[in-house]
């Protein structure tokens, strides 16, 4: 019959359902600092180990497009799994003082086939940009496309 354990167990179970059900997907972030000759340093922040098991940040390439121009960056994202992976990504650019210089940084949907690796490119919004973040996260759309 019912005992005190049931009273403790039930709220714990329902709370865990609530937490799992309403969980948001925190992004994995690659921060890249550009130097005079290109890439200066990079740092990866893993907030979703589930996504990190599937997608990996690979080679980073940076080039100056013109004499007084900004940079163009490319990051290889590798799908390590044997299935297609849907995800969202966005680039955010910063100047030397840490101010965000991107006028907008929308999340964009992407898909990588099994074991596929592809370059994701972004051009610095203006010549002052020296650092960027590439964020990837699990699909987190506004509403599911039912119709």
């Amino acid at each position: 019959m019912l005992n005190i354990r049931h009273f403790i167990l039930l709220p714990v179970i329902s709370l865990s359902f609530i937490i799992v059900g309403c969980a948001t997907s925190a992004p994995n972030i690659l921060t890249v600092q550009a130097g005079p000759g290109g890439l200066s340093s990079k740092k990866t922040e893993v907030n979703s180990s589930t996504l990190a098991r599937k997608l990996d940040f690979g080679e980073v390439s940076i080039r100056a497009v013109g004499p007084d121009a900004g940079m163009e960056a490319q990051v290889i994202v590798q799908n390590k799994s044997k299935r297609d992976v849907n995800f969202e990504y966005r680039f955010i650019w910063y100047d030397a003082k840490g101010f965000e210089v991107s006028s907008s940084a929308p999340w964009l949907p992407a898909i990588l086939g099994a074991k596929e690796a592809r370059g994701f490119k972004s051009s610095a919004p203006n010549p002052n940009a020296v650092r960027f973040k590439l964020m990837i996260r699990k699909p987190h759309p506004l509403t599911d496309m039912g119709t």
């Binding site: 309403c22 007084d68 163009e72 940084a105 919004p125 039912g146 119709t147």
Partner: protein
């Protein structure tokens, strides 16, 4: 005792349902969030196109010479079977490029009548100080013009709907008539109707 147990189970169930429930009331969302409400052309499609075109244009040597060429934005032809405000696409591209400081845009196409009225007012009304009045014949001629078109292919089979959008943009040298830059963005969207429901 049994009644208490049932009560707790119902209470827990209620908490579960209300905890994740979406309220019908209005709320503000992020304009940067991916939108997949329908297969129709939406904000995320616009952002994807703008992102691709801006990245591509900023990487072209034409905008890297430091000369800040003047561009006239022509229209984007909508060749899809749905209503798309194509000006919002070119506006988004224009604003981002303008902020880069590497290009200037001519407003002639958008506010030509207003500019002519303003010039007439400044030169002919007698109200404006002649020393500060702007005169005709000093508008900057465009070096390039930007135009494009958007097309779509729609297919439906059973419960599945597939939509393919293709946006193409071109940058033409006004003097030579040559297309100096062109790029395209393809978007595929699919929706599956639920078994039950409308």
């Amino acid at each position: 005792m049994k009644r208490i147990f049932i009560f707790i189970v119902f209470g827990a169930l209620l908490t579960l349902l209300s905890g994740c429930a979406t309220t019908p009331s209005v709320s503000y969302g992020s304009a940067e969030q991916v939108e997949t409400i329908t297969t129709g052309f939406g904000s995320t499609d616009l952002q994807m196109i703008a992102e691709k075109m801006v990245n591509s244009l900023l990487a072209t040597p034409l905008l890297q010479s430091g000369k800040r060429p003047v561009v006239y934005v022509h229209r984007v032809k909508n060749k899809t079977d749905e209503h798309i405000d194509t000006k919002s696409i070119t506006d988004k591209v224009k604003v981002t490029l303008l902020k880069s400081g590497r290009v200037r845009f001519s407003a002639v196409s958008e506010v030509n009548d207003e500019m002519i009225k303003q010039l007439e007012y400044q030169t002919s009304s007698g109200i404006v100080d002649p020393n500060t009045a702007k005169t005709f014949g000093h508008q900057v001629g465009s070096d390039y013009f930007l135009y494009g078109e958007i097309t779509s292919i729609k297919k439906r089979a059973g419960r599945v709907e597939d939509v393919y959008f293709k946006m193409t943009m071109n940058l033409v040298n006004v003097e030579s008539g040559l297309i100096e830059w062109a790029d395209e963005k393809e978007i595929r969207k699919q929706a599956k109707k639920p078994l039950l429901g409308p």
